[in-house]
Amino acid sequence: MIYVENLSKEFCIYKRQPGILGSLKGIFKRDIEIKKAIENISFNINKGEMVGYIGANGAGKSTTIKIMTGILTPTSGKCQVNGITPYENRTANAQHIGVVFGQRTQLWWDLPLSETFTILKKIYNIPEDQYNTRMEFLSEVLDLDSFIKYPVRTLSLGQRMRADLASALIHNPKVLFLDEPTIGLDIVVKEKIRKAIKFINQEYETTIILTTHDLQDIEELCDRIIIIDSGKKVYDGNIKNIKKDYGYITTIEATFSNKNDLSLSNLSFGFKLDSQDLNLNIEDNKIIIRFNNKKVAVSQIIACLINEVQIKDLHIYEMGIEDIIKNMYKAGELNA
């Protein structure tokens, strides 16, 4: 369905000197720096697959998505979506894809939401009966009915994101691109959106490519992930192992009330682990514990902690994508 080969995109960046004098100088002479946003990226995605496309900020995720949707023209390499080269045959490509940019709405800002769908029906040339069934389906899955009459600018972020997702799906696209679809949303809405995405993928065999910072999105939705870092593809494969193999450090942050004679030695828990697998830090009345969850269970750590201190507040963090990538480098899985 999607075929990407040796794709690269370079941007020219003009560096300016600081200050007014510097910017005046910049009128006559500018230093040009060529930045490679992505470099020699290749992958294939089959029909009906749901693929997580992940990487740190600035890794080149959005650039790749923008090439696949026809917004950007690559510097070199090939890209085909459903047999069409997106940046050469933009309108034909647009008919078959749906795009959601979490950061930027594509709805008609000043009009009631329902009008957006009326316009899109015209733009995509959707026959009346198909439009009606589709609309019914989307209202049900994304629960649009409660706010479809309101102007888009009055919608909450969660409502808007659901509306954006619906508007990207109204023409039954073969491929759906989601660029951070759950950014800034609360857990309940996130859950709703994930459910809808999953359902659409199963029901219509829509191919879905998803970029996100939320590991949970990826875990719940995707079987396959592609990781890019600094513009290069560093991993392409199954998600299950990744987390087990590289995402094993859990962080517990606890605030406690009895501050008196707490010392690190009291808290070594007797697990006999080296500092790689268990690491403690105390700042004022906060304790931060990083540990390898393959060797110690979260419950064990908390049990010990409760014995020692009176906990006021407790947070548990899983590893972020950035750290997982770092770990992969460390393990020699990736070639730096």
């Binding site: 941007f11 600035g58 959005s62 923008k66 949707t69 026809g70 917004i71 950007l72 023209t73 940046y87 933009r90 309108t91 034909a92 647009a94 008919q95 795009v99 940019f101 950061q103 930027r104 594509q106 008609w108 000043d110 009009l111 009008e115 009326t118 316009i119 015209k122 733009i123 995509y124 040339n125 102007p151 660029d179 951070e180």
Partner: protein
Amino acid sequence: MKRYLSLYKTFLAQYLKILMEYRIDFLIGLIGFGIIQLSGIAFLYLIFAEIPNLNGWSFEQIVFIYGFAQIPRGLDHLITDNLWILSKSIIVKGQFDRYLLRPINPLFHLVSEVIQFDAFGELLVGIALVIWSMIKLKITVSFLQILLFILTIISGAVIYTSIKLLFASLSFWIKNSHEILWMNYSLSDFSKYPLSIYSKPIRTIITYIIPFGFTAFIPASYFLNKGNLYTCVFGTFAAAILSFIIAYTIWLNGIKAYESSGS
């Protein structure tokens, strides 16, 4: 074509709904534009109260040219006013993305989002002045000449659009071309008066480089019997086609060079 017409109708209807959301703004805009138009005519009247004839052109003839100039300008203003936002901010903010994500021509999409009703000021004043001066000058026109008149008006509007499109498209590379566009658009003021009153460099510029001369003076002189059919009418038509081809090519290359923005 049929599909685009029906799409245009949809966009127009939606735009009207948006205008009604902000109707005070709309009304003030309309009034303001009317005032600008009236002051333009008053200015013309004041000048000619002192000088009854200018370089061999009578007052009525000048009014004809002045009125003629308003019509293509107004037509372009009515339909393609949204090109201005291309020169200002949407490229640098990456908001141009959305025009590339729909299965319709992006230029059509951009332009059809806004219909600038202020332009009716120019159109009405222009038509009124042309009719008034034709009566005064006792110009009679044949049916063919009416067709030629419409052809030159549309060609003139296309020249306006092309010049705007060309300079607005520069912002794909230089990010903000608003000042450049404004400077060049202002050259159109020269076309409201007979070109023969200007020095040679100015005449050359607005005939061959930024061809605003073809939006008013050149075609208008044919209808005043001061120019021949080939240069004035077909020349205008050719200038329109050539300008549009150049501008559209630059626009297409601009899209290829579009860099969006980080999100």
